[in-house]
C-alpha cells in the first residue's frame, strides 16, 4: 500500500524487554498505566507583527516508562517547539503565549519556575539536539562538560566526576576515552560530538530522553552508529525516549509508537507497526509515498503531495491538510475533524454524532493512549468513507478544495 520499505513488520517490540514490566505488576490499577510524561492540550502561540503563529495548537500525547515515541512532521509542523515546550525549554515571554499542561511522573511541570525545572533537567529528563556543535560549549573540554552535570546532580567530586566521564565516553563507544576527556569539541568529528552529547545526556541516568533530530546532521553510516547506540542505551537504562524527526525510516525502525504532526496538531498516532501497515490519515499515507522506495525498479514516479505546508498565521477553518489532500470533501474545508479512534468511529453513525464531540472540548482521544490508533480525518484511508471520498474526487478530477488530482497522486 505504501511505498516506503514495503517489507517485514518491524521487530522492535518483539526484541525489546517488556517495557516497565515490573512497575506494572507491582502497582495495581490505574497507576500502573500512568504515563511518565503526559502532555495535555499543549498550545504555543507566538505573537508576531504579522499575526499569531500557532506553532503548537492543542497537542495531547503521552510517553510511558521505557517506551520510545516518535514524533514525525515536516518543517513547520510544530514538532520541535512542542518537544521543547514539553521539556520546559520554551517559557512564557512577551510574545509567547502558552497553555495546556505537561505532567512528568504525575507532577505538573509546565508551571514550574526555571530553578525548579533545572533540577529535573539532567537528572530526570535529558535532551540531545540536532547539531552537536552548538549544544556543546566550544571553549570547555569534553570532560568538564560531562563532569559539570555529574557534580551538580549527583554531587560527585572532581576526581570521581572525571572517572565517571571516562566511563561514560567508553560506554558510548568513543575510542581512547582518557584522551577524549581532555579534548575540545572542535577536535572531534560530528559523530564523536554526538556521542559526547549522548554521554552528557545519559550521565545522570535520566528516565526520559528527548532526541530532537538526533541524526539529521550526520552521514548515514554515522547515523546507523548513533541510532544503534541510542537503542542500546535505551534498552540498558530502561529509559523512555521521544525522538523528534522528519525521517520516516528512522521512526519506523526505532520507535514503539508514532505521533504524526501537521500544522501544530497531532493528526495521527498509533503503534509503529500499525501506523506503517495501515495509515489512516491521508497526510501520513502521502508522506510515506513521497519517500523514494528502496525496492522495485528505479525511475519510479514519486507520488507527490501538492502544495506546501500550511500558513500557521491563518489556518483554514477545517482540516489543515485539506488543500493538499486527495480525499478532501466539502466537510473537510469547514469542519476540523476531531482526533478519534477506529472504535469511536464504529460507535458513531457515519457523518453524524461524531461531529458532536469537537476537538476543543474535553478531548475524547489522547494521542498517548496505549495501543489506540487515532487520527484526525473525516474520510480516513482504507475505510469505506475514505475510499468513497477518493473515488468521488478522482471522478470529478479535483478535490473539494479545488486541487486537481493527478494520476500519479492517487
Amino acid at each position: 500500500m505504501t511505498s516506503i520499505d514495503a517489507g517485514p513488520a518491524d521487530q522492535r517490540r518483539d526484541t525489546r524487554p517488556p517495557a516497565a514490566g515490573s512497575a506494572q505488576t507491582t502497582a495495581p490499577g490505574a497507576t500502573a498505566t500512568r504515563p511518565l510524561l503526559e502532555v495535555d492540550q499543549l498550545r504555543v502561540h507566538f505573537a508576531t507583527p504579522a499575526g499569531l503563529v500557532r506553532a503548537v495548537d492543542g497537542v495531547s500525547l503521552s510517553v510511558r516508562a521505557g517506551e520510545v515515541l516518535g514524533v514525525v512532521g515536516e518543517s513547520g509542523s510544530g514538532k520541535t517547539v512542542m518537544s521543547r515546550r514539553a521539556m520546559g525549554l520554551v517559557g512564557p515571554g512577551t510574545t509567547t503565549r502558552l497553555s495546556g499542561t505537561v505532567r512528568y511522573d504525575g507532577t505538573e511541570i509546565s508551571a514550574l519556575p526555571p530553578a525548579e525545572l533545572s533540577k529535573l533537567w539532567g537528572s530526570e529528563m535529558a535532551m540531545i539536539l540536532q547539531d552537536p556543535m552548538t549544544s556543546l560549549n566550544p571553549v570547555k573540554r569534553v570532560g568538564e562538560q560531562i563532569g559539570e552535570s555529574l557534580r551538580r546532580h549527583l554531587g560527585l567530586d572532581r576526581a570521581a566526576a572525571h572517572q565517571r566521564a571516562v566511563q561514560l565516553l567508553r560506554s558510548v563507544g568513543l575510542s581512547e576515552p582518557e584522551r577524549r576527556v581532555r579534548q575540545y569539541p572542535h577536535e572531534l568529528s560530528g559523530g564523536m560530538r554526538q556521542r559526547v552529547t549522548i554521554a552528557i545526556a545519559l550521565s545522570c541516568d535520566p528516565r526520559l530522553l528527548f532526541a530532537d533530530e538526533p541524526t539529521t546532521a550526520l552521514d548515514v553510516t554515522v547515523q546507523a552508529q548513533i541510532l544503534e547506540l541510542l537503542a542500546r542505551q535505551q534498552a540498558e537504562h530502561r529509559m523512555a525516549m521521544m525522538i523528534v524527526t522528519h525521517d520516516l525510516r528512522v521512526v519506523r525502525g526505532h520507535t514503539d509508537r508514532v505521533v504524526v504532526m501537521y500544522a501544530g496538531k497531532v493528526v495521527e498516532a498509533a503503534p509503529t507497526r500499525t501506523l506503517f501497515a495501515a495509515p489512516r490519515m491521508p497526510y501520513t499515507e502521502a508522506l510515506m509515498n513521497a519517500v523514494p522506495p528502496l525496492t522495485g525498479s528505479n525511475h519510479a514516479v514519486l507520488r507527490v503531495i501538492p502544495g506546501r505546508p500550511p500558513n500557521l498565521l491563518a489556518p483554514p477553518p477545517g482540516c489543515a491538510f485539506a488543500p493538499r489532500c486527495a480525499s478532501a470533501q466539502e466537510r473537510c474545508l469547514t469542519e476540523m475533524p476531531p482526533l478519534r479512534s477506529a472504535a469511536d468511529l464504529a460507535g458513531a453513525s457515519p457523518g453524524g454524532s461524531a461531529a458532536g464531540a469537537p476537538a476543543g472540548g474535553p478531548a475524547p482521544a489522547i494521542a498517548g493512549t496505549p495501543d489506540d490508533h487515532v487520527y484526525r480525518c473525516w474520510y480516513p484511508v482504507g475505510t469505506e468513507a475514505g475510499d468513497e471520498a477518493r473515488r468521488t474526487n478522482i471522478e470529478r478530477g479535483h478535490t473539494a478544495a479545488g486541487t486537481p488530482i493527478l494520476a500519479e497522486a492517487v
Binding site: 520499505d5 517489507g7 541510532l227
Partner: protein, 386 residues
C-alpha cells in the same frame, strides 16, 4: 525509456570486454568507448592546500563516463569528494589534474573563451535553493541572465524565460517580477532549474538538489527533474548522500569514498548486489524496519563510523581502516577497478561474493515471507551473520 537503458548496457559490455591487452583499458575498465558518451572524466584529481603546508586530497583519480540520456548517480558521505567532483567537471575550480571531455574535447585544455563556450552545454543545480539565487534581482532577470550573457535578443529572451518557467511548473505572469525571498525552498529550486535549462544544456549536474527540502517537496522536485530530463533530452549527474533518492533517479550509480570510486554499477544491481564492502555498509546503514539490521551494520564498521582525514588518507585501499575484510594486501596495493558483472565494476581486492549475497537475500525473505515483499535482498546476509 527502460528499453533504451537496457540496450545501452548490452552495447557497453560488448565494448569494454573487447581490448584486453590495452593498458589504458585495463586501468579504467569502467570507461566505455561508445559513440554516445557525452561526458568522460579521466583521472580527475583535485587537491587543496590548507594551512601549514598540508594538502587535502579531495578527489584522487576518479574516472567515469556518462552516455547520452543517462543519469549517473554519485553517492558517498560528506567529505568523500562527490561535490568537488561535480564542480571540477564544470572547471569551477579547474581540477589539479586529469581530463574532463565533453564529446571528446578536453575542457581543461581549452583557452578560456572557448572553454566558456563549450561549458554552456554543462549546467549545474546546487543544494541550497536560497543561496543559488541573487536576492537583489527579479526572477525574470535571474533566468534571462544566461541568455543575456550569450547575446540573444530581448524578445527571444522574454519568450524563452516564459517557456522555461512554465516548463518547471511556475506561472511566468505571477513569478517574473518577484524576488527570491518571496518564494519557498521548493519554488527557489524550480527557479534554479529553470535558470540551468534556459541555455538548453546537454548535461545537468545536480549537486544535492533536494537535500534542503522537506520530503513532500523533495518528491515534487525529483519528479520535475525526471520530466525535464525527458523534455530537454538531458544527461544527468546526480550527486547526493541520500541513497534512496539516488537509486530512484539514476540509471547507474557510482559510490565514492575518500576521493576514490569504489564501485560503479546499474542502480538496481548496485543496491541489490553490492560488491564493495563500503557500498554494502552504506546500504545496510539505511534505517530499516528491522532494527537488528541497523545494529549489525553499525557493529560491522570497525571504526565506529569515523572516516580518516583526507589530508593523510590510508595507503592502499582507502576503506581498509573500516573494512571487515581488510588484509595486508589492502594496505600495500591499491585495488584497481575491475569488472565483476554486467556493467558492474568494483575496486576491491576481496569483493563480496554474489552467491553469498543472493543466498542471504533468499533467507531474509523466507524469514519474513509472512509479511509479503522481501526487502531482505537489500542487505547481504553475509553482514547480518557477522
Amino acid at each position: 525509456m527502460t528499453d533504451l537503458v537496457k540496450d545501452e548496457r548490452q552495447n557497453k559490455t560488448g565494448a569494454s570486454s573487447g581490448p584486453g591487452g590495452d593498458p589504458g583499458a585495463s586501468r579504467h575498465v569502467q570507461l566505455r568507448d561508445a559513440d554516445d558518451v557525452v561526458l568522460s572524466v579521466e583521472d580527475l584529481v583535485v587537491e587543496f592546500g590548507v594551512g601549514g603546508g598540508s594538502t587535502v586530497h579531495a578527489v584522487s583519480g576518479v574516472s567515469f563516463d556518462v552516455r547520452r540520456g543517462e543519469t549517473l548517480g554519485l553517492v558517498g558521505e560528506s567529505g568523500c569528494g562527490k561535490s568537488t567532483t561535480g564542480r571540477s567537471i564544470m572547471q569551477l575550480p579547474k581540477p589539479t589534474s586529469g581530463s574532463v571531455r565533453l564529446h571528446g574535447d578536453n575542457l581543461g585544455g581549452m583557452p578560456s573563451g572557448q572553454m566558456r563556450r563549450a561549458r554552456r552545454k554543462l549546467q549545474m543545480i546546487f543544494q541550497d535553493p536560497i543561496s543559488s539565487l541573487n536576492p537583489r534581482r527579479r526572477i525574470a532577470d535571474i533566468i534571462a541572465e544566461p541568455l543575456r550573457v550569450w547575446g540573444s535578443s530581448p524578445d527571444a529572451r522574454k519568450a524563452k524565460v516564459a517557456e522555461t518557467l512554465e516548463a518547471v511548473g511556475l506561472d511566468p505572469q505571477l513569478v517574473a517580477d518577484r524576488r527570491p525571498h518571496q518564494f519557498s525552498g521548493g519554488q527557489c529550486q524550480r527557479i534554479s532549474i529553470a535558470r540551468a535549462l534556459v541555455l538548453e544544456p546537454e548535461v545537468l549536474i545536480c549537486d544535492e538538489p533536494v537535500s534542503a527540502l522537506d520530503v513532500s517537496v523533495q518528491a515534487q522536485i525529483l519528479n520535475l527533474l525526471e520530466e525535464m530530463k525527458e523534455r530537454y533530452q538531458l544527461t544527468m549527474i546526480f550527486i547526493s548522500h541520500d541513497l534512496a533518492v539516488v537509486r530512484n533517479i539514476s540509471d547507474r550509480v557510482a559510490v565514492m569514498y575518500l576521493g576514490k570510486l569504489c564501485e560503479i554499477a546499474p542502480a538496481v544491481e548496485l543496491f541489490d548486489r553490492p560488491r564493495h564492502h563500503y557500498s554494502s555498509l552504506l546500504l545496510s546503514s539505511i534505517p530499516s524496519a528491522d532494527q537488528d539490521a541497523t545494529t549489525s551494520a553499525a557493529r560491522l564498521d570497525r571504526s565506529g563510523g569515523e572516516m580518516p582525514s583526507p589530508v593523510s588518507p590510508p595507503s592502499g585501499c582507502r576503506f581498509r581502516t573500516r573494512c571487515p575484510a581488510a588484509t595486508e594486501r589492502c594496505a600495500v596495493e591499491e585495488p584497481l577497478m575491475r569488472q565483476v558483472g554486467d556493467g558492474h565494476f568494483v575496486a576491491c581486492h576481496h569483493p563480496l561474493e554474489v552467491a553469498e549475497v543472493v543466498a542471504s537475500g533468499a533467507e531474509g525473505s523466507v524469514e519474513r515471507s509472512a509479511d509479503g515483499t522481501p526487502d531482505g535482498a537489500l542487505r547481504p546476509v553475509a553482514l547480518e551473520g557477522v
